[in-house]
């Protein structure tokens, strides 16, 4: 008990351990598993990432004005939901062109609010995919 | 005729009057009689303020001797036919000693009747509170399965009891005191046995033999007093008492302990619970047990030094232990009973201290305890009759069914513990007077601790009971109000009114300043209501938090298990203390 007692007392005059986030930002390690990023121009539309992703956070959905890329024969567009992703990196490991077409950055994912429709919006996409 | 004789004699006639007659007549008569008695006691205190002394004629004395012999013979007879050895033995012993007392009766005389302030206050308590209980008993007894005569007899007995009590606080003659003491024993014996079943009989006999010990103690005191001081009168005994020889006082004090059901003589009062509730109410509040502090008050001027300290210690110790023991009880009346025992012991302790302040505290406590206890016992009766409840644990959320009864119970408990009620003032003054004494004798510090602990235990006890009453359902739909007969509630309102008058008296007598009484009262009652009316409109009603579950949980009373051997230890300590008291007085 006395150790705690004195520890509490000395702590009183020490600088606290607290990092004043978000005033002071915390530097993320470059190896941190953050957002999955996509290089549209390098993608070969092999859809390996889509298949590998456990929760299905990557969807290639047919759209009317597909991105211009000769490999994109079906007219697909890449969609990624950071609120569904579990940041396991499996897609990157599956991708034949990692670091170019698909890579994991150390960026923090964005906070969503109601208007972002992170869930409902994705349902729409999933419906498109099924059709 | 002076008021005291009205108070003593009139109830006898009232008793005869209510015996005959049907329900209506009896009820009306009773109410009138009670009003008469209450009026008389008020007149006595406001009109006849001086001390009054008279002697009774010789023929009265012979009548009393006759009555006494009859009572003792009756006890003996009861002991023999009920085959109760204690009762028989004590009755025989009493007869022998009584014969000796009558035989040696000294020639010196003093006034037989002596009415002082204390008596006047006792009149008030006995007649007003006691009368209220009789009114209540009218309704109560009708719901019992007795014959008409037995029902009327019940009321009559209660009146008779009042008469005896009025007499006992008027007398100065210890012989007459003994007779009346035995008469109260007789009354309680009959009332406790009133239901006539086995437990009633057994408990009545228990009450009988224990009270006989009290009678014996008085007789011993009488004999010692005759041989040593050559008197049978309180005033002479007290004025001539020798500091070194307090034996008569000690034995009278023991008689008080017995009547006050102090531990170790507590069994009889708890046994008395089997009687119809008005009996408990009247025993606990206005009559019977109040003889104990009254007697102590009478003896107070004669006590000093060792006797005073020891009695204070015994009193406070009993106060503490009875409160402690009550914590483990579940039977509502038993809880009330133990708290009576505790408070009586406190009164006796205060009387034994004997300073002016302590005596005032004692009187205040006597008065307010009567009112509060009567109020509570009436509620106990209502619970039994209207809700079929005896055990606190069964009273689930009574507030949903009868807010009024709960209100009375809360007020009853509050008036025994909290400012600005009288019992609180008494406790307050008790602490102050004991604090004053510590410098005289360090043992009072122990008494102080007993009081401090005891009063907290009592509070704990009362609020523990409230646990069960108060849990109010969220939804109003579930509330089912139970109808309670008017005759049950009116007496409670009267007692409530008395409590409020009490607060005024406390203010008037300056026990507490007006700042202390009224400012908190007003603030505490008005401000929250203001807020409430302002805020409730906007508030939403929600269910209680059950960790997100919707299932209701079961709530029950907390009880505090007191290990069995505590009770034994406490009794042993009390007995040892009493022996120390006797031995100390003899040496």
């Amino acid at each position: 008990m006395l150790t705690s007692f004195f520890k509490a007392f000395t702590n009183l005059f020490k600088k606290p351990q607290t990092i004043d986030y978000p005033v002071t930002s915390i530097e993320k390690d470059k190896e941190y598993r953050g957002l999955i990023e996509y290089g549209e121009s390098e993608c070969i539309y092999c859809l390996k990432c889509e298949k590998a992703c456990p929760p299905g956070a990557i969807l290639f959905v047919p759209v009317e004005n597909p991105p211009k890329n000769e490999k994109n024969k079906k007219g697909l567009k890449y969609h990624y939901n950071p609120h569904l992703c579990i940041y396991c990196s499996e897609c990157v490991r599956a991708c034949p062109k990692p670091e170019e077409a698909l890579w994991q950055s150390n960026k923090k994912p964005p906070i969503g609010i109601k208007d972002d429709k992170v869930n409902d919006g994705w349902f729409e996409l999933e419906k498109l995919k099924k059709v | 005729m002076t008021t005291y004789s009205i108070l003593i004699i009139a109830p006898l006639f009232f008793a005869l009057a209510v015996l005959i007659g049907g329900l209506r007549v009896r009820n009306i008569l009773t109410v009138v009689f009670v009003l008469v008695l209450a009026g008389a006691s008020l007149i006595n205190i406001f009109v006849e303020t001086s001390t009054l002394q008279t002697s009774l004629s010789h023929s009265f004395h012979n009548l009393f001797i006759l009555l006494d012999s009859l009572v003792l013979i009756y006890f003996l007879w009861q002991g023999i036919i009920k085959k109760h050895n204690f009762v028989t033995f004590f009755a025989l012993l009493q007869m022998m000693l009584y014969a000796a007392v009558v035989f040696f009766s000294p020639s010196t005389t003093s006034s037989d009747i002596l009415i002082d302030n204390i008596s006047s206050i006792m009149y008030l308590v006995i007649n007003i509170v006691g009368g209220t209980i009789i009114v209540y008993a009218l309704g109560y007894i009708e719901s019992e399965k007795f014959s008409r005569f037995k029902k009327n007899g019940f009321i009559a007995l209660l009146f008779f009891f009042l008469s005896v009590m009025n007499f006992i606080v008027s007398t100065n003659n210890i012989e007459i005191f003994f007779l009346l003491f035995e008469l109260t024993t007789l009354c309680s014996y009959i009332l406790i046995a009133y239901r006539g079943d086995e437990i009633s009989n057994e408990n009545a006999l228990k009450a009988l033999w224990m009270n006989q010990i009290g009678g014996l103690a008085i007789l011993i005191a009488l004999i010692v007093s005759i041989t040593q001081y050559d008197t049978v009168y309180f005033d002479m005994l007290i004025s001539s008492i020798n500091e070194l020889y307090l034996l008569p006082i000690v034995f009278l004090a023991i008689a008080a302990f017995v009547k006050g059901a102090s531990i170790p003589f507590d069994k009889w009062l708890l046994g008395a619970m089997v009687a119809p509730t008005p009996v408990s109410a009247i025993l606990h509040s206005a009559t019977m047990v109040k003889i104990a502090p009254y007697l102590m008050l009478k003896l107070a001027p004669a006590m000093s030094g060792f006797v005073s300290v020891t009695i204070t210690l015994i009193g406070t110790f009993v106060f503490f232990s009875a409160s402690l023991l009550a914590l483990s009880k579940d039977y509502f009346k038993e809880i009330l009973g133990l708290s009576t025992i505790a408070l009586l012991a406190l009164m006796m302790a205060l009387a034994a201290i004997g300073t002016d302040e302590a005596i005032t505290a004692c009187l205040v406590l006597i008065v307010f305890h009567s009112i509060s206890k009567a109020l509570l016992f009436l509620q106990a009766g209502i619970l039994e009759k209207s809700f079929n409840l005896k055990y606190v644990n069964d009273i689930n959320g009574l507030i949903n069914h009868s807010p009024l009864v709960v209100f009375f119970i809360v007020v009853g408990f509050a008036s025994l513990t909290l400012p600005p009620f009288g019992a609180f003032v008494a406790k307050f003054m008790a602490i102050e007077s004991i604090a004053n004494e510590i410098s005289n004798n360090p043992l009072y510090a122990l008494a102080l601790i007993f009081i401090a602990l005891g009063s907290v235990f009592l509070t704990l006890l009362y609020f523990k009971v409230l646990t069960k009453l108060l849990a109010k359902d969220v939804s109003q739909e579930k509330e089912v109000h139970v109808h309670i007969p008017k005759l049950f509630t009116i007496p409670s309102f009267i007692l409530l009114f008395l409590l409020i008058i009490g607060i005024y008296v406390i203010f008037e007598k300056e026990f507490l300043s007006s700042v202390q009484i009224f400012v908190p009262m007003i603030l505490i009652s008005v401000v929250p209501l203001l807020f409430a009316t302002l805020l409730f409109k906007k508030a939403h009603r929600v269910k209680e938090y059950y960790c997100g579950e919707k299932e209701e949980v079961q709530l029950n009373m907390y009880y505090f298990d007191i290990p069995r051997n505590y009770k034994k230890v406490i009794t042993a300590v009390a007995i040892v203390l009493i022996f120390i008291l006797i031995l100390g007085a003899m040496l």
Binding site: P16, I19, P55, I86, I111, V118, N119 | S475, K543
Partner: protein, 179 residues
């Protein structure tokens, strides 16, 4: 009248409910209380009592058995309040999306104000989310926000909303008439 709104964000008391998460996000919420992150800086107290909370932190994809508890807690929170879905599985179902005993995220049941992604959401993310949530809290009104499912609007005679029976058995129709 004195404007209380700026004060709201200085004293967010939180209620945490685990609606079927893997504990990953829950321990990160606990880590937020630890000295390194110390969200008491923002005045956060973890009250554990819905009636005294402003921010509802939910983790997990809402399993069948949690549903009624979730709604019960939600309705026991006084307005204004914000709901934070912490973790990917709470936002959208995450890895549990489409499993048979869960139903794709918290916002199927109650209105969610802030979605904090991550699996597990790191304390920094949770703090970011909290900051965002407090901004939203400031602009909220005291209107009652209804849960989407398991909810029947109960109005007393005097127009006071009765929250007692707001969570109903599954399958009971939602009364849409008032909307």
């Amino acid at each position: 009248m004195f404007d209380f709104k700026p004060i709201r964000k200085k004293s967010p008391w939180i209620l945490h409910y685990n609606a079927g998460s893997c504990n990953g996000c829950d321990i990160e919420i606990l880590a937020c209380l630890s000295p390194k992150y110390d969200i008491e800086r923002f005045g956060v107290i973890n009250t554990g009592n819905p009636k005294q909370s402003d921010v509802f932190l939910v983790t997990g994809p809402v399993t069948f058995r949690s549903r009624e508890r979730l709604i019960e807690l939600y309705t026991q929170m006084p307005e204004p309040k914000v709901v934070m879905a912490v973790g990917s599985c709470t936002c959208t179902g995450g890895v549990f999306r489409d499993m048979y005993n869960v139903e794709d995220g918290l916002d199927r049941y109650i209105p969610v104000d802030v979605y904090v992604p991550g699996c597990a959401s790191s304390p920094e993310l949770i703090i970011d989310g909290l900051v965002k949530a407090l901004e939203i809290l400031e602009s909220k009104t005291k209107e009652i926000e209804k849960p989407f499912k398991l909810f029947r609007n109960e109005t007393n005679k005097d127009g006071v909303v009765n929250r007692r029976n707001s969570a109903l058995k599954v399958g009971e129709e939602i009364d849409d008439e008032e909307n």
